[in-house]
């Protein structure tokens, strides 16, 4: 995935073709059995017919697909999911970029400590962190109470709405964004900044002309990763949305588990997969343009 982070492989491989294939076999098998076959299953299921009450009839109808992309509610879901994910990605980028830049320019033990602090939240499950946010953001939680103490009469609701989902997802995705940015910052030598400054560039000019262009690969990678993670996230929107935020991921869950409409759930799942494909294509083209 990270074209920016993985160096080109050497022209001559030390391994013969046969050994190479043998080494690839385990991961190929795992992917075929655990990913490709279920995906094909899912794709097939999206053409089956739903029988009210939880039954599925083997068929080959386009009804699920027509409903998925023509039904106003579903269209709204798709639009909600894309805008929320883009918003979360943008927020994550804005708060993560300065941190990543700082870590990139630090060194030694301090750098190791900072990277550990970035990764540390990943050691806790997203469910636990989400509940932590619920405690913090709830109406009698410390944040709302602080706002009230400052004299604001009707503080905005920070939980069980889109705002809550965005806050939660942004924090949960920050480690991924920071690591992706760091992986993409490879070309950024601190000497470039010094060279630009000595040539007469102000700090702002240095950022716009040198630092920003050279960190675009990292931004693109972080954007792709966090967009994909945001649009497919389920636990945080479910818990922090309080049932009022409707997204593709929550809808898939409801269709599959509550309504037991597996064909529609399968259709929406494949739809999300197509969205992933589109973002990957955009990313790849962007990266080529950057080079």
């Amino acid at each position: 995935m990270s074209a920016a982070a993985i160096p080109d492989k050497p022209a001559t491989s030390g391994l013969g073709g046969q050994t190479g294939l043998a080494l690839l076999l385990p991961i190929v098998l795992v992917n075929v059995i655990g990913f490709i076959i279920p995906m094909l299953n899912l794709a097939r299921m999206s053409f089956n017919e739903y029988v009210p009450g939880g039954g599925i009839r083997e068929a080959f109808i386009l009804g699920n697909w027509i409903k998925a992309i023509a039904d106003p509610f579903n269209l709204q879901l798709i639009a909600n999911s894309i805008t929320l994910s883009l918003g979360v990605t943008l927020a994550t980028l804005i708060v993560s970029y300065p941190i990543a830049l700082y870590i990139h320019w630090s060194s030694g033990r301090w750098r190791s400590l900072l990277i550990f602090l970035v990764i540390a939240p990943l050691l806790t499950s997203a469910v636990v962190r989400t509940y932590g946010w619920i405690a913090l953001l709830s109406n009698d939680g410390p944040i709302i109470r602080s706002i009230k103490a400052l004299g604001v009469e009707n503080p905005p609701r920070l939980l069980f709405n889109t705002t809550g989902v965005m806050i939660g997802l942004t924090e949960i995705l920050m480690p991924y964004m920071i690591l992706a940015l760091l992986a993409g910052f490879g070309r950024l030598d601190p000497r470039f900044e010094e060279a630009a400054r000595s040539l007469g560039a102000t700090p702002a000019q240095t950022f716009r002309r040198i630092i920003l262009p050279l960190t675009l690969p990292g931004i693109a990678l972080g954007w792709l990763l966090c967009f994909v993670l945001a649009i497919s996230s389920f636990v945080t929107p479910k818990l922090m949305g309080g049932g009022r935020v409707f997204l593709l991921a929550t809808e898939i869950y409801d269709q599959a588990i509550v309504t037991l409409n597996w064909p529609v759930a399968a259709t929406l799942s494949i739809l999300v997969l197509i969205l992933f494909g589109i973002s990957l294509a955009v990313y790849t083209r962007l990266l080529k343009r950057l080079d």
Binding site: R187, D189, R191, F192, E194, A195, A196, R197, S198, L199, G200, A201, T202, P203, Q205, T206, R209, I210, P213, L214
Partner: protein, 381 residues
């Protein structure tokens, strides 16, 4: 070891490099500049005056503070104390982008996302120079470093030497008040380094640009520069012309860091006289200490294979002593004879074309050299 600070006036500097001293006021001037990191003193008490148009080298081993000094001049590091002046203007607290100094890095630091021409144009871009004027100046700068044909290439498509020349053009196009070179030749192979040395010196002379050159390579410093600042452990050991640094080193550190030298430890028994196990030596310089060492350059020692037997002191102006040949090393243009004189190792060098007479190890020989080539320094117990 006590630091020896020899400050020579800019007038005498100009005289020694054969120039008139009309423009006598120093262009770049550092007064008591120091940089401390916690309790570590990276640079201490740094005083330097550079006349306009001079090329001065900061020479020393790694960690001696030479790069820190250069970065303080560039404004990338703020001195802990002291002042830096350019043309009598205090720039100590000026941010780097307002200092108008051209900086060339060891790693070139060319912007990888820009073509060669865009790299060179960068300093003009941020100054909002009009397009036409900008194109003209970029072309002129690239011509100066003979890279006009490569203007549209990306830096990664160029060789190391070409990248270094682009970096030089980029620094020169803004017509900097001072050119700062941070080990600009260290990443080049030996042959290219020789070419670049000449090219940098030619350009510097053509533009008459005041230049500070950081290097750990004594050959670069001796061959290119008007004057040399030898640094060690954060302080200045000696400032002088290449000739002074080589022929009249002010400290044992300078004598052994710049060029090769023989060190003969002994006791000072009279003024300008040192006694040691293999005999006595007279020296051109004198010190007050009793524990001393004499230093003489290997190529100043002449070797005579006839055993004359050694008297305590030769009459006249030469030192002489008996030594036994240990081994002979052939270094291309030169042959090194390693001798042992009663436990003191001595090396004599002769140019290959003169050294017809090579003996077997174990041969006794008489080594002799001029008293005027012998310097005495104090020595720690």
């Amino acid at each position: 070891m006590k630091p020896v600070n020899i400050k020579i006036s800019e007038a005498s500097l100009a005289q020694q490099s054969g120039r008139s001293s009309i423009d006598a006021s120093p262009y770049l001037r550092l007064d008591k500049v120091a940089k401390r990191y916690g309790s570590f003193e990276a640079v201490t008490d740094f005083d330097l005056e550079v006349p306009r148009g001079d090329l001065v080298a900061l020479l020393g081993p790694s960690g001696c503070g030479k790069t820190t000094t250069l970065r303080m001049i560039a404004g990338l590091i703020t001195p802990s104390s002291g002042t830096i002046r350019v043309a009598d203007t205090d720039v100590t607290n000026l941010p780097p982008h307002r200092r108008d100094m051209g900086l060339v890095f060891q790693s070139y630091a060319l912007f990888p996302h820009m073509s060669v021409a865009r790299n060179v144009a960068f300093g003009l871009d941020v100054r909002s120079v009009p397009d036409q004027e900008k194109r003209r100046q970029v072309a002129a700068a690239l011509d100066l470093v003979q890279l006009g044909k490569l203007a549209d290439r990306r830096p990664r498509e160029l060789s190391g030497g070409q990248q270094q020349r682009v970096a030089l053009a980029r620094a020169l196009v803004i017509q900097p008040s001072i050119l700062l070179l941070d080990e600009p030749l260290s990443n080049l192979d030996a042959k290219l380094r020789d070419e670049m040395r000449t090219q940098i010196r030619d350009i510097q002379q053509e533009l008459r640009i005041t230049t500070v050159f950081v290097t750990h390579d004594q050959v670069e410093a001796l061959s290119m520069c008007d004057s040399i600042v030898v640094m060690n452990g954060g302080h200045i050991e000696q400032i002088g012309t290449p000739y002074q640094i080589y022929e009249q080193p002010a400290s044992p550190f300078v004598a052994s860091f710049v060029g090769r030298t023989n060190r003969i430890p002994g006791r000072r028994t009279d003024s300008n006289r040192l006694d040691f196990a293999a005999g006595a030596i007279r020296t051109a310089t004198d010190v007050a200490e009793t524990n001393v060492e004499a230093m003489v350059r290997p190529h100043r020692i002449s070797v005579s294979w006839t055993n004359k037997g050694s008297g305590p002191l030769l009459p006249g102006d030469r030192n002489s002593l008996q030594a036994k040949l240990q081994r002979v090393t052939f270094v291309g243009d030169m042959i090194q004879f390693h001798f042992d004189a009663n436990g003191v190792a001595l090396v004599a060098e002769q140019s290959s074309i003169q050294a017809h007479d090579i003996r077997e190890p174990g041969t006794e020989a008489t080594l002799s050299w001029a008293v005027s080539d012998t310097r005495m320094f104090g020595r720690a117990e």
